[in-house]
Amino acid sequence: MNLEIKLQIQAWLDGELPEAEALRVAALVKRDAASKSLAAELETMRAALTGNEPEMKLPETRDFYWSKIRREIERLESSGSAPLATTGGWMHAWRRWLMPLTGTAMVAVVAVGLAWLVTPQGQGGDIFLAEIENLSEDVGSYSFRAPAQNMLVVWVYDKAPLPAVDSDLPAETTLQ
């Protein structure tokens, strides 16, 4: 049995064939043992997979996960800029260079881009502590305080190039 016939049997099982062709393949499967066996094999695997997608739990707390999303939304809405590109952008940067921080510790992470930091110790309310400005369009930066280490960190990174094609909308064609 050549590959073309095998693929036709598969397409028949997947309901992808036009009616006339589907009838022809159905007849083949009925009369030919090898075709029948292949159809059974494909059907077994299809049945095994249906409804049995592995379930995964997000490895972050709800609050922590949401806090990062919310921060990025607010940053975008206040700056009017496009979101950073994937991997190489803000999300990936956090993970690439920080020690694994617990959700509690990450609450100390506050600023992105041009930002005002609020003292975590609440010394006299909102006190100006830092303002960060990128002076080059190729560069982004993040900042945060590490109070236990008595450090203010400003991380500078190369901005990743934006994708050539916008693949955001679910219905749109992705890269050709």
Binding site: L3, K6, L7, E41, L58, E72, I73, E77, S167, L169
Partner: protein
């Protein structure tokens, strides 16, 4: 970019306790700028969106990052959501697109194996044996899912992606071809080999179990 600001003076009112609202109610509230409603949607569906990203990327960090980016994009484009599909289906498609973009970037940086190149050119049929036994017979659902997960991790990104899009996302060949930027013929052959490879892997796990 669609801009939608939450009105600080008049918060969006939901008809009932937020935890009991339907997704449709939450989406409508979020479309009017209700961040709290969107947060509830994220809370409800974060595992599913993360799971989709993880199944495609097979890397926890990438999956978390991409799922979060998907949520941000979802917020930005929420006004465009018409309700033709469920909200979670719509979000899943967003994260799939992000994952596909990322996988394509990885692919450009990675040398292709001879097998992958042969498959891309639609040429050589590989000698992968047919699996005549049912490798999933007698398995509890949790064990079956664990084996499926294990086997998915052993597929190439093309095989895994086509399998996920067809088997778990119920996309047609034509739609898969569009998303993976390849021909329908390539989708069909990838799907065929993916299924056969899965069957072979699951059969080998069964043999491992019997031999242990």
């Amino acid at each position: 970019m669609n801009k939608r600001k939450t009105n600080p003076v008049e918060p969006v009112k939901l008809p009932q306790e937020i935890g009991t609202c339907s997704d449709e109610q939450l989406v409508r509230a979020a479309q009017k700028g209700g961040m709290e409603a969107f947060e509830e949607l994220v809370g409800r569906h974060r595992d599913k969106i993360y799971a989709r990203a993880f199944s495609m990327m097979r890397n926890e960090d990438d999956a978390v990052d991409l799922s979060q980016e998907a949520w941000v994009k979802g917020w930005q484009r929420l006004v465009q959501f018409q309700g033709d599909s469920s909200f979670v289906t719509w979000m899943t498609r967003i994260v799939i697109n992000l994952c596909l973009d990322q996988l394509r970037k990885h692919k450009r940086q990675r040398a292709e194996s001879i097998e992958e190149m042969a498959e891309e050119s639609g040429g050589v049929e590989r000698q992968m044996p047919a699996v005549t036994i049912n490798p999933t017979a007698g398995l509890e659902r949790s064990e079956l899912r664990a084996r499926i997960d294990r086997a998915l991790g052993q597929l190439s990104y093309e095989h895994r992606t086509v399998l996920i899009l067809h088997e778990f996302e119920d996309l047609e060949y034509k739609e898969i071809a569009k998303r993976m930027a390849c021909s329908i013929g390539t989708v069909m052959s990838r799907l065929f080999y993916a299924r056969r490879k899965m069957a072979n892997l699951m059969a080998s796990y069964k043999r491992e179990e019997l031999n242990s």
